[in-house]
């Protein structure tokens, strides 16, 4: 079958994206920790003049974490695992290699332009779609290149059947492409007004309520197709590979895939409950959010059952710990989300800190854990060295778990407290609290959250250090490990 005996998987593009994952992960979490601390200690707003206020930094935090850290992680794991499940090397096609590297270069330019332009204040003010139109054009280019690489690799594959991970990568590619294009339809004012004003500025194609619908159709599904779908792609490959256990049920994975694809898109309007969008859409969003538990748990249970009879690995291998915990947090946040989408719960939860709390148990507990575990798994194979320190990894695990628990518990309490105080009335039916009362009461929770941020960031630094040492001075490996990643 194999004509060229020296043929090997080529990880050069995967390595490049590994570096940006670590870099942007650190940067995004650093800014996140800073803005968390600003809410507890407002003096921290004045570190960098107008560029250091909470409001300017908040979109920077979200964008770096979504488009810098997570998307880099998705690309890195894609360029690693897609070759392997298709049994074809990037080195076999000069064209695909070129596309991959070009994609990386453009991606880095885009990411830097994003950081600078958001700091300068060029923002469309649509959440998670803040980048202005010239950057949107570049984003489309990067994304198309990824598509070319993806379908190019699939085109020359040796394995006829696509593995589960690839379904999810394909869905990520298509879903983000469709949603991003529709949500970022905007008219550059410079071009439409005969060259007046700033070239970066644009207006949305949609107005008011329509804009809100499209935005949250995107906003929610950015969560679906960036924070969920490609991360499921990772766990379907890396958990079986690291544990040496084939996936518990291929059939179940098929069903939950198609279920997830169908249901997820409907749920976007749960961000707009009690707003001015038509009632039937709000109800639709609410109902489908609850239905969404089924396919989400389908995947998560499939993961946990994969470990059936092999639970001893949980104590022996910290990487398994990371992955099992990630899928547990996936279950938790996919249960929490639908609860918040119930209209009466949403009336209290919306606009409060419970929402960032929910996002972060998903992102810190599920997305970041899974990306870090995947990179740890990839490192010995890409660099042909064992992982530098198991002890450090264990310590990182416990530190970050503590951080996540502190984060979401404090935000749950903060959110519900504030939601209840906003609506509290005295015996005559008058509002009991002025708005500032409901802010002042949150201070202890904001302090705990800032502490959680510091812990998580410290854990991430330990991860980065461990990865760096693995790449450079760790003990060399003679043969590629088959399943369990070797670590010192």
């Amino acid at each position: 079958m194999q004509s060229n005996a020296a043929l090997e998987y080529d990880y050069s593009v995967a390595k490049l994206f590994t570096y940006t994952t670590i870099l942007f992960g650190f940067l995004g979490m650093l800014i996140g920790t800073l803005i968390a601390a600003q809410l507890a200690f407002p003096e921290l707003n004045y570190l960098m003049g107008e560029y250091g206020t909470f409001s300017r930094l908040r979109p920077l935090h979200t964008n770096i974490v979504v488009y810098g850290f997570t998307v880099s992680g998705v690309f890195a794991t894609f360029y690693y695992s897609a070759q392997r499940v298709l049994k074809v090397s990037m080195a076999e096609s000069k064209f695909l290699m070129f596309v991959g590297k070009l994609q990386f270069v453009l991606y880095v330019i885009l990411a830097l332009a994003m950081v600078v332009s958001l700091l300068m204040g060029f923002s469309s003010s649509k959440e998670y779609a803040e980048m202005e139109w010239p950057l949107d054009v570049l984003t489309v280019l990067v994304w198309v290149l990824w598509g070319v690489a993806m379908f190019g690799l699939i085109g020359i594959r040796r394995e006829k059947s696509l593995y589960i991970s690839l379904w999810y990568f394909i869905a990520c590619f298509l879903g983000v492409a469709m949603l991003y294009l529709f949500n970022n339809m905007e008219v550059p004012t410079y071009l439409a007004s005969g060259g007046l004003g700033n070239i970066m500025h644009s207006v949305s194609m949609y107005a008011g309520t329509n804009d809100a619908l499209v935005q949250w159709w995107w906003g929610h599904n950015a969560v679906a197709f960036v924070f969920t779908v490609p991360i499921i792609a990772m766990i379907y490959y890396f958990l079986p590979k690291e544990s040496g256990q084939a996936i518990y049920s291929y059939k179940l994975s098929l069903l939950s895939f198609w279920g997830l694809m169908f249901v997820y898109l409907w749920a976007g309007s749960h961000h707009l409950l009690w707003s001015t969008v038509p009632d039937w859409m709000q109800s639709m969003g609410s109902i489908f959010s609850v239905v969404l538990i089924l396919p989400s748990w389908g995947s998560a249970i499939n993961m946990l059952l994969t470990m059936k009879g092999e639970w001893n690995q949980l104590t022996e291998n910290p990487l398994i710990k990371f992955m099992v915990l990630a899928s547990t947090f996936y279950m938790l946040s996919t249960l929490e989300g639908p609860i918040q989408a119930i209209k009466s719960v949403n009336a209290i939860a919306h606009f409060t800190d419970w929402i960032p709390g929910h996002v972060h148990d998903g992102v810190l507990g599920w997305v970041a854990f899974m990306i870090m575990a995947s990179l740890f798994h990839m490192a010995p194979r890409m660099y042909k060295r064992e992982i530098y320190s198991k002890k450090l990894m264990e310590a990182q695990f416990w530190l970050q778990i503590t951080a996540v628990v502190l984060y979401f518990t404090s935000m749950w309490i903060a959110g519900i407290t504030q939601g209840m105080m906003w609506r509290a009335v005295d015996e005559y039916g008058n509002l009991m609290y002025s708005f500032i009362d409901t802010v002042a009461v949150l201070n202890p929770y904001y302090t705990i959250r800032a502490l959680a941020g510091v812990l998580y960031l410290t854990g991430f630094l330990m991860f980065a250090y461990n990865m760096y040492k693995t790449m450079t001075i760790s003990r060399k490996l003679e043969v590629e490990p088959q399943f369990r990643s070797p670590m010192a």
Partner: protein, 72 residues
């Protein structure tokens, strides 16, 4: 018939249609495996046995020719 009504019908029938497809899919998967016609779980091994030198679960007949084209 205005667009709202059309929307309602489209939504209703498309949902029914997709649900029927999905459920017949489930039934088909489990039935054909029970009868021994198909083995789906073998595809789970794609992730485990993923060396470039290992034998594909199902060989892709197109791979050689297309590979040559892309390498030109």
């Amino acid at each position: 018939m205005d667009i709202r009504e059309l929307q309602g019908y489209a939504s209703f029938f498309m949902t029914i249609f997709l649900v029927v497809i999905l459920y017949s899919y489930i039934v088909y998967l489990y039935k054909s495996e029970k009868k021994g016609e198909k083995d789906y779980e073998k595809y789970g091994n794609i992730a485990l046995d993923d060396e470039i030198t290992s034998t594909p679960i199902e060989h892709n007949p197109k791979s050689q020719s297309e590979k040559k084209e892309l390498n030109k």
